[in-house]
Symmetry: C2
Subunit: 432 residues, 2 copies
């Protein structure tokens, strides 16, 4: 059987998993590819670092030129994270005639157009299944399996760290800070979890999925984004009493010729599949105009699930499917007739509001009056008696609205800020 020589750049968690699959299961990948995806070179920064995979003699190198300048290596898994030097390496690999597989969503979200244009100019391809939702093959599913559809909406739990933290807060009733410490101890959260918990990672992934599903070319930093770092355990409790769970949800919806997009903690009715996603799992619900709703659930990260996605892309590229798919996806391409992101203001949703209000006559009338004057109709209210220690007596007030616009909610919140009877900034969460 003929070989296709493959290089790996970066032997971190995912790179190690990819090397293992190629080395230990070469029969499997060869059977699916019709050729042997042969691991020729693995580039690392530090040759002396202990590795969790046995790399054959002569394969490991700290000289990236051994990949770039080797014309026999035609497929490269580029598994370095972050923007630089990953971007420069990608461009060099393309220039030297390699097809590339990457898991680097931050790089694609920031430099997708540059990289994809370069690949198209040079007749090369980039595969990126592993960049979103690790073990869920969502890129192939949207890009290839649902081609008969216009995707009309996407809803995703795309960050396993956040979902683990939220699930733990809910199950154990512990505050955000305590759960994050536990998640770090268990390896579910990084030492600096900022990009996970502030929603940036989710927004980057949403920008990639939305480009794929809607052709919307958006700077991920422009997506309205709230993380879970300010999520209060109280809201998880109130949501639970109202029959909902809170998840960090990426949302994209086609409205006319525009796409509404957002990332934020969102209330989802219990029993619906997205609401029941536990621990570090990811899940995505895609709605297509022909197929209806399709729901995917799997491991969003971790060594072997992510390596599974990278190796599927390697097989696709070795077989020749990767090139065909890349050419026809026209991702981040001008010919893709890009849609634009909709203004958030007119977008219609139900909302959950919570604020701490002074417990005296007339306050409820004031609040409901503000909402009513902005056209916000109330679906339900929870108000408790004040606790003894509150002085002056304040009580939490929770309101669920009917469908309304984001701007009507924003105007109401602005007016709440003016009121002397409302002590805290209102918590505002979308409700699905």
């Amino acid at each position: 059987m003929e070989k296709t020589k493959v290089g790996i750049i970066g032997l971190g968690t995912v790179g190690t998993g990819v090397a293992r699959l190629l080395l230990d299961h070469g029969d499997r990948t060869a059977r699916h590819a019709g050729r042997i995806p042969w691991l020729e070179k693995v580039v690392v920064r530090d040759l002396t670092k202990p590795r969790h995979v046995d790399i054959p003699e002569g394969v490991l190198t700290d000289d990236i030129q051994q990949v770039i300048q080797n014309p026999e290596i035609t497929v490269v898994a580029q598994l370095i994270g972050g923007i630089e030097p990953a971007r420069t390496i990608m461009l060099q690999l393309l220039e030297s005639g390699k097809d590339i597989i990457t898991a680097n969503k931050a790089l694609l979200a920031a430099h997708g157009p540059e990289l994809f244009d370069k690949a198209r100019q040079l007749g090369r391809c980039i595969a990126f299944e592993a960049s979103v939702a690790g073990g869920i093959p969502i890129i192939t599913n949207i890009g290839q399996c649902l081609t008969a559809n216009q995707v009309t909406s996407l809803r995703g739990i795309l960050n396993g760290t956040c979902n683990f933290i939220i699930t733990q807060m809910q199950d154990r009733g512990e505050d955000y800070e305590d759960v994050v410490k536990e998640a770090q101890r268990l390896g579910y959260a990084e030492a600096d979890p900022t990009l996970d918990v502030n929603g940036a990672d989710t927004a980057q992934k949403l920008s990639i999925l939305s480009q794929l599903a809607f052709g919307v070319r958006v700077n991920w930093e422009d997506i309205p984004c709230k993380g879970i770092d300010e999520l209060d355990i109280a809201d998880i409790h109130y949501a639970d009493r109202l029959g909902y769970r809170i998840k960090l949800l990426a949302l994209a919806k086609l409205v006319g010729h525009e796409v509404e997009m957002s990332v934020g903690p969102t209330l989802i009715r219990k029993g619906s599949p997205l609401a029941e996603v536990q621990d570090a799992f990811n899940a995505i619900r895609v709605h297509g105009d022909a197929v209806g709703p399709v729901f995917y659930h799997g491991q969003g990260a971790g060594q072997m699930p992510t390596a599974s996605a990278v190796v599927a892309d390697i097989v696709d590229t070795v077989v020749g499917r990767g090139q065909l798919t890349f050419n026809n996806l026209e991702l981040w391409s001008e010919s893709n007739r890009p849609r634009s992101m909709a203004d958030a203001g007119p977008s219609i949703n139900r909302y959950y509001l919570r604020m701490q209000v002074i417990d005296k006559p007339g306050v409820m009338a004031e609040i409901t009056g503000i909402l009513g004057s902005n056209g916000v109709s109330i679906a339900s209210i929870i108000q408790h008696e004040p606790k003894d220690q509150d002085s002056p007596a304040t009580v939490p007030l929770v309101i669920m609205s009917h469908d309304t616009t984001q701007s009507a909610i924003a105007r109401s919140v602005e007016q709440f800020r003016q009121s002397e009877n409302i002590e805290s900034e209102a918590v505002v969460l979308k409700v699905l």
Copy 2:
């Protein structure tokens, strides 16, 4: 943009959906295919029958030779059900140089080897995404997205009619016969629903998925199969009290070099994704040794979901991916080193048993004695007081076992049959 001329054989529910997508959304399919999948001919039996799609002048014909003998038509969606004449038409289409898309699972389950061998000989390809689980792209997911994995198990709800009936029985507390009548009225069940409710349809689909996932070449009629046609509402109630739901489940599991396979009503713990699949939806859980569990949920049948799968296959075939995938899948091929189906006897599961027993001293000791002597360990028991009208007083007895072999359960049931104290044949269901 260049055209690839496409033919459709059969303009039933699915054919009509496919024609609609090609005619109404030609821009969409052309964008994804890089060429126009051009609907050239649609073959029907009766030209005078009213149609729910506007077919352009000159496209509709009752002469299949207009497709077979037209060398410009290179891709054909063969959408006639049943074995003949579908099999002969498929062979003729292959001989005349066409690549074929089909939704006909009964034909593939019965004649897959013949058809696939013929296609390979002639350098043609057969795509069959629509043959299993309509709107869930499970064929591409197993055959292409999970190539880095050995699939270790499959669990599927593959028949929407059965799931609709079971869900209705559970929600409305009505007997099987009443619910079937309602399902027929609503169009969820055929006038003769036999092949759905007796599990044959599910077994055919399981045989296709298992060929794909495990390379096991099995006659679907050899798969141990129980339908829902003898499912008693009482078992749904008892399962509910024990914390389970009953679903008609297709199961396949790799054990050593063999594959355990079965179809039957199965208890699944509430809250697990498969247990919560409602109405006519399908769902599949695939476990891969690298990716872990991946769960898919979507519409299993219906015009547009199934047409979505057929058109995705048309686009794949027009792009050229279909041929690459078909060549490397080696389905039903001798070179696929086929695994064989395991004997059911040694397979290990938990079991649910229900029988009607005479309410007198010593009976429980007799039953538990029989189970014990066969090595079956009991996890829980439900026994009720007799109702007044029972004479001689009999009571239902429900037993949940710990893990045990199928043969141990079969031996126990055989001994129950000999007992004068056990009135009814024991109901035996697997528990996941």
